[in-house]
Amino acid sequence: MSQKILLNETEIEIILHRLACQLIEKHNDFSESVFIGIQPRGTFLAERLQQKLERDYQITEVKTGKLDITFYRDDFRRSKKPLEANKTRIDFLVEDKRVIFIDDVLYTGRSIRSALTAIQSFGRPKEIELLTLIDRRFSRHLPIQPDYNGRQVDAINEERVKVNWKENEGEDCVYLVNN
């Protein structure tokens, strides 16, 4: 197994900053906007962006939730590994809200397809956008594209993009892993 660094801590910081600015540019007023981090790994990015808006731009009204998509996936009984669920925590209604799905890596688009179904259990959002740190373009199985994008990556199928967060792995870094 070999791996190379795609983004280091400084580059991630710059990208988070840019994504925060793009969100402000688009949303301006966040009172009707909610962040939904896709479990398991999109939640770290969602919390980071929320903190960034709070600390650097004094935008404190953004609500953040965590959405687990396990029971909505289309590979139940099809994947080799049994699916393991994570916690869903959405303490607010998404009815008529501007929802921003946040995930670390956009690959086939199937997770986001599941998330689009899952979020309906919490109401009918006014609109849904997608923000990803890494977009593995040319790997999509479904017509899904991000609205906000950290970095586009061209990777072949055997390769895996791994996003490490300080909260979990003790470092901010994005690797391209070759199995």
Binding site: F71, R78, P82, L93, S121, F122
Partner: protein
């Protein structure tokens, strides 16, 4: 671990502590799901489940049906009263006929002990035992343990007394297996005539004095006297049973500590427990019913994930 060690849920004695932990962890997620504005997930949309009830049931059948529907499974219901069983069809024939209509999973309640095990050896479907005679009722035991875990934090180390008709109770047997598996201390309490012989060999203690049992326990699981399974008289009168083994508010208030009261239902109010106990804060009877749906969703989901495409 993220997969059950078994392909069927036939009884608690066939599963492991890890299976129980996995079921509870999954049930936690489903409990969150059934408290959402929309209480349904699409996981089992390509699974068909037959509920075969050869014995009466209200709560268990409703609970299973709700669990199945909230997982988006297709459900067919069958009750023996209105079926060809009355015309002399055998169990295997009945089930094979249903399975040839492409059913993936069978939830079965049957008056004969071991009916689930027998079926699992002869038909090609995942079987969930919803009660087989006086043998086992595994989903009830799991939802009981889940409710204890929810109320008291954990099951291990807790003192649980099961009171009443132990002899005819599948709930008692499954509960003993489940509680021992998770490291709880278990006593059974009731008239000697309603105690099975050699019950101590399951690692439980017998106590015939209700007050002593209640003083010892953290949780009291009050069972119904199953008159329908009694061909002879096991105690002189209901009145005498109530005096010795009925739980009322007076006894509960006189105890030196607060205990949790459970009941698998249906309650005979005024017999095993009085109304003021059943409706008090001590009782978690309705929590048990709510948890029943979440736990059954978890069991069905985990078993369905093992059905090959």
């Amino acid at each position: 671990m993220s997969e059950l060690s078994v392909d069927h849920l036939l009884g608690i004695k066939y599963i492991t502590k890890e299976d129980v932990d996995l079921i509870f962890k999954t049930a936690d997620h489903f409990k969150e799901v059934i408290n959402r504005p929309i209480k349904k997930v699409p996981s089992l949309r390509d699974i068909t489940i037959a509920n075969l009830f050869f014995e009466n049931s209200t709560r268990t059948r409703l609970s299973f049906e709700l669990a199945e529907k909230r997982l988006s499974a297709d459900v067919v219901n069958f009750s023996a009263a209105s079926s060809s069983v009355k015309k002399g069809e055998t169990l295997i024939d009945t089930v094979n006929n249903i399975l040839s209509m492409k059913v993936d999973m069978v939830v079965m309640r049957h008056p004969n002990p071991g009916a689930g095990v027998f079926l699992s050896q002869h038909v090609n479907a995942s079987i969930i035992n919803a009660g087989d005679g006086a043998h086992e009722h595994p989903t009830q035991a799991l939802l009981d343990s889940y409710s204890i875990r929810e109320k008291l934090g954990e099951v291990a180390g807790k003192n649980v007394v099961i009171v009443g008709d132990i002899l005819h109770s599948r709930v008692a047997l499954s509960n003993i297996f489940a509680l021992k598996l998770q490291g709880a201390n278990v006593k059974v309490c009731g008239p000697k005539t309603l105690m099975p012989k050699y019950i101590e060999s399951l690692g439980v203690e017998v106590e015939t004095n209700l007050r002593k049992a209640l003083e010892w326990c953290d949780v009291a699981n009050m069972l119904r006297v199953q008159n329908e399974r009694m061909e002879i008289s096991y105690f002189p009168s209901t009145r005498e049973y109530v005096q010795q083994y009925g739980l009322n508010k007076k006894i509960l208030d006189s105890l030196s500590k607060e205990i949790t009261v459970m009941h698998p239902g249906p309650i005979n109010r005024g017999v095993e427990i009085t109304s003021d106990v059943a409706d008090s804060d001590h009782a978690i009877i309705l929590n048990q019913v709510e948890n029943g749906v979440a736990v059954r969703m978890a069991i069905i989901y985990l078993l369905a994930s093992k059905i090959k495409q």
